[in-house]
């Protein structure tokens, strides 16, 4: 046991993303990174630190502030057979380019009946940060996951970040890769396997982060951590939560959710995005339509961001997003305890 622990390494999410890109740039000549400040600045959030120094101007490209233009250029390069990673400094800015993501990237393989694939990754931080206010805090998981032709991935920890980004880059389809700025600096233990250059995590498969019998908690990105914290507190009161890390929003691994619900009979979804038409709403609908419905002992509960634009003042911001106590409260309500 001791020797295995020694081989585990503490790696921040930022470094895991950096490693993933470095390895894929080395592995496949067609891969390149483009975005604002990704090259000489080492990345607005330092995610691409060191890459420009190693790979140069051809593979790591600084762009002007022209999201619609450079997203289109990246999609065109993918159509011509390269494998671009298009970084949005945050996904809020992707709204300016959303036509290229949806109409030029996502739909093209279908419209061409298989003649024209678009192997591109759109990545960047998504959702709330800290004190950046309304225009810089939106979660785009639901918007992108609505669209057929896209894969939408939302990692939580370092292993997720590395394995899923490598899979996304190797995928021949457009992948929207939603990172989280507040997670970049968080270190996680990475197993020896996950440090290999060929380590990938399949897109479309959720992970059970914690086993439990009483209630299923489903979440993605940063709030998986909140769920685990809530589970630790609830365990002291004898409530055992099963925590599922979705990892991929689209295609969603509904089967894992259903299997868990058939065991626990209770389901609580947790997300940072707004409630209406969100990830939790989709999970509710899918569970109702599927085999797990008859196993529910209570309606599904959604824990979400508050349905308002994000305020600036700290006290207001803190109360705009799910806190651990909100998850604990919701679990107890769902279990009627």
């Amino acid at each position: 046991q001791a020797s295995i622990r020694l081989r585990m390494k503490s790696v921040t999410v930022r470094d895991a993303l950096n490693q993933a890109m470095d390895e894929e740039l080395e592995r496949d000549e067609r891969v390149f990174l483009m975005g604002e400040e990704v090259a000489q600045y080492d990345g607005a959030y330092k995610v691409s630190r060191g890459l420009w120094k190693k790979y140069g101007d051809k593979r790591i490209i600084d762009t002007p502030i022209s999201e619609m233009g450079f997203a289109g250029i990246a999609v065109g390069a993918a159509m011509a057979g390269l494998r671009p990673i298009c970084e949005f400094m945050t996904f809020n800015f992707s709204m300016q380019a959303i036509d290229q993501v949806i109409n030029s990237a996502a739909k093209t393989y279908y419209m061409s009946a298989g003649l024209q694939p678009v192997p591109i990754v759109f990545r960047g931080p998504n959702g709330a940060s800290a004190g950046v206010a309304a225009q810089h805090s939106q979660c785009f998981a639901a918007w992108y996951a609505h669209c057929p032709g896209l894969k939408v991935v939302s990692p939580w920890n370092s292993e997720d970040a590395k394995g899923l980004l490598k899979s996304a880059i190797r995928d021949d389809n457009p992948v929207v890769f939603l990172e989280n700025e507040l997670m970049y600096g968080v270190p996680f233990e990475m197993s020896e396997d996950s440090q290999s250059k060929d380590f990938t995590i399949p897109i479309g498969k959720a992970k059970i982060e914690r086993q439990g019998n009483h209630v299923t908690l489903v979440s993605h990105s940063r709030f998986v951590g909140h769920c685990l914290d809530a589970a630790a507190v609830l365990a002291k009161e004898g409530i055992e939560c099963e925590v599922i890390n979705l990892r991929t929003i689209r295609p969603m691994d509904v089967e894992s959710i259903e299997t868990s619900v058939m065991k626990t009979n209770h389901l609580v979804t947790v997300e940072g995005g707004w409630p209406q038409f969100g990830v939790g709403a989709e999970i509710c609908a899918r569970v109702m339509e599927g085999s797990a419905f008859n196993f529910l002992d209570a309606p599904v509960t959604r824990v979400t961001g508050v349905d308002i634009p994000m305020p600036y003042a700290k006290i207001l911001e803190d109360h705009s997003l799910p806190q651990v106590k909100d998850i604990i409260f919701s679990v107890k309500k769902t279990l009627n305890v």
């Binding site: 022209s66 065109g76 009946a113 003649l115 389809n173």
Partner: protein, 453 residues
């Protein structure tokens, strides 16, 4: 087969200095077309074996292929004039003539394309055939649309044929081209058969996109559509040019847009990046004077579209003269290949139809204007008159070609109206590339559909 593809592809890379090889057989054929004449039956057959591939385009500057083609056409005819033409000696015709063409307006360019263009008899017949084919296909589409056999959007290209034909004459199949939604002409010049074009318009499984794309979404190797969102194709085209630069393969991307799209913000973002990075992109504005129902004077503060690239050099070209288009495109492509960066070309042209089939096209312009262009500047007539008055071909030859082209178009329309619609099993396919099969939700929870790549 795949290993052999890799071996040949790697060998080509070593010869050309490219870093990335062809991934599919059609791509390899395009790469090979740089070095060998691919109109041999063997190459054709092997291409056919792979998937629904386009025929190698008939427009070619290789005169041997052209004369083969011209002779083959005449041999096939069985109309009344045929016997007479076949017995006529080709030596009676002038083999080549140098024509004066209009000088281009220049922006940030010391010199422009030549003011003289050479035309061989073979080239002339080929350009004529291409333009006439596009014309007849568009008119057939008009007919089929009015019969409600074609639905939805249908944006016709008749009047603008010299642009598509001239551009293709100046570039090679290994170059790239992308355009907007008035795309049928380019789909043809880039190698898709008229059967597959018409069948796509009628929404049948024999269409180039198996009926799933329609008028605005047809594709072929090195032809990226067919794009429905006005202006979105321009950044895409610059991205394709980036890929050419990245690979160092000396190819260019011709990126077309209209006078309406010329006012889109994403164009200016693209111009900036293309100039900054010296992308080998030939931006071509097909100015047909109307963006849907809005005349250019009502839409643009500056209608000098060839200058709108600002720091990018530009030229304004007579888009009704196939030779002017060819010379200008060659000039522009050479500019890019020399590493000088992008260039903007404005083609002054005209569309006879309205914006689409739902626009009669006469509420914002007069019938007199349309008639005047038809009688004085029709691109097909211009070429024919030039060739006839220089004894490069006979009136009978043109007539025979017209008959033959009409027949081909009628046959293609016959196919397009009789081919079955795509099977329902195909509904959810082609969502993802190279992916294991996935489940797709139907219209209700009990409808569980399957999608394969």
């Amino acid at each position: 087969m795949k290993t052999m593809l890799t071996v040949i592809s790697n060998a080509l890379c070593r010869i050309t200095g490219k870093n990335v090889g062809a991934q599919t057989v059609p791509e390899l054929l395009i790469d090979l077309s740089e070095y060998v004449n691919l109109t041999s039956p063997a190459a054709h057959a092997s291409a056919q074996a792979q998937r629904q591939p386009p025929k190698p385009p008939p427009v070619s500057t290789r005169s041997s292929a052209a004369s083969q083609l011209a002779r083959a056409q005449l041999d096939q005819l069985d109309g009344p004039g045929a016997r007479v033409a076949v017995t006529r000696n080709f030596a009676d015709f002038t083999p080549q003539v140098t024509f004066d063409i209009k000088k281009c307006d220049l922006h940030r360019l010391e010199a422009g394309p030549p003011v003289k263009a050479e035309l061989t008899r073979e080239q002339g017949l080929q350009y004529y055939r291409t333009m006439q084919m596009v014309r007849r296909v568009e008119l057939k589409a008009d007919q089929l649309y009015k019969q409600k056999i074609i639905r939805g959007f249908c944006h016709l290209y008749d009047g603008q044929e010299a642009c598509a034909a001239g551009i293709e004459a100046a570039i090679s199949p290994s170059d790239h081209l992308i355009t907007a939604y008035r795309a049928h002409g380019y789909t043809y010049t880039r190698g898709v058969s008229i059967r597959q074009i018409l069948a796509e318009l009628t929404g049948r499984k024999g269409g180039v996109a198996k009926g799933k794309g329609g008028s605005m979404h047809m594709y072929a190797p090195h032809f990226y559509g067919g794009n429905g969102i006005v202006g979105a194709q321009v950044p895409l085209g610059a991205g394709i040019a980036l890929a050419c630069q990245y690979r160092g393969n000396n190819q260019v991307c011709v990126t077309l847009y209209g006078d309406g799209a010329a006012n889109q913000g994403q164009l200016f973002e693209t111009f900036n990046m293309a100039a900054l990075w010296k992308l080998p992109c030939v931006f071509i504005c097909e100015n047909n004077k109307y963006g849907m129902g809005t005349a250019v004077e009502r839409a643009a503060a500056s209608t000098d579209y060839y200058k709108r690239g600002d720091f990018i050099p530009g030229l304004r070209v007579d888009g009704m003269d196939v030779l002017s288009v060819r010379e200008a495109t060659r000039f522009a492509a050479d500019h890019c290949r020399a590493g000088k960066g992008p260039i903007v070309m404005e083609l002054q042209t005209y569309r006879y139809h309205g914006h689409s089939m739902s626009d009669p096209g006469v509420s914002y312009r007069t019938r007199e204007e349309i008639q005047e262009v038809r009688s004085k500047s029709d691109p097909i007539s211009l070429l024919r008159e030039r060739m006839l008055s220089n004894n490069m071909a006979s009136a009978e030859e043109f007539k025979e070609m017209d008959v033959e082209i009409r027949k081909e178009v009628d046959d293609a329309a016959q196919f397009a109206t009789s081919d079955p619609e795509p099977p329902l099993e195909d509904l959810c396919n082609h969502v993802f590339s190279n992916n294991p099969p996935l489940d797709v939700r139907g219209t209700h929870p009990w409808s569980k559909l399957k999608s394969v790549s």
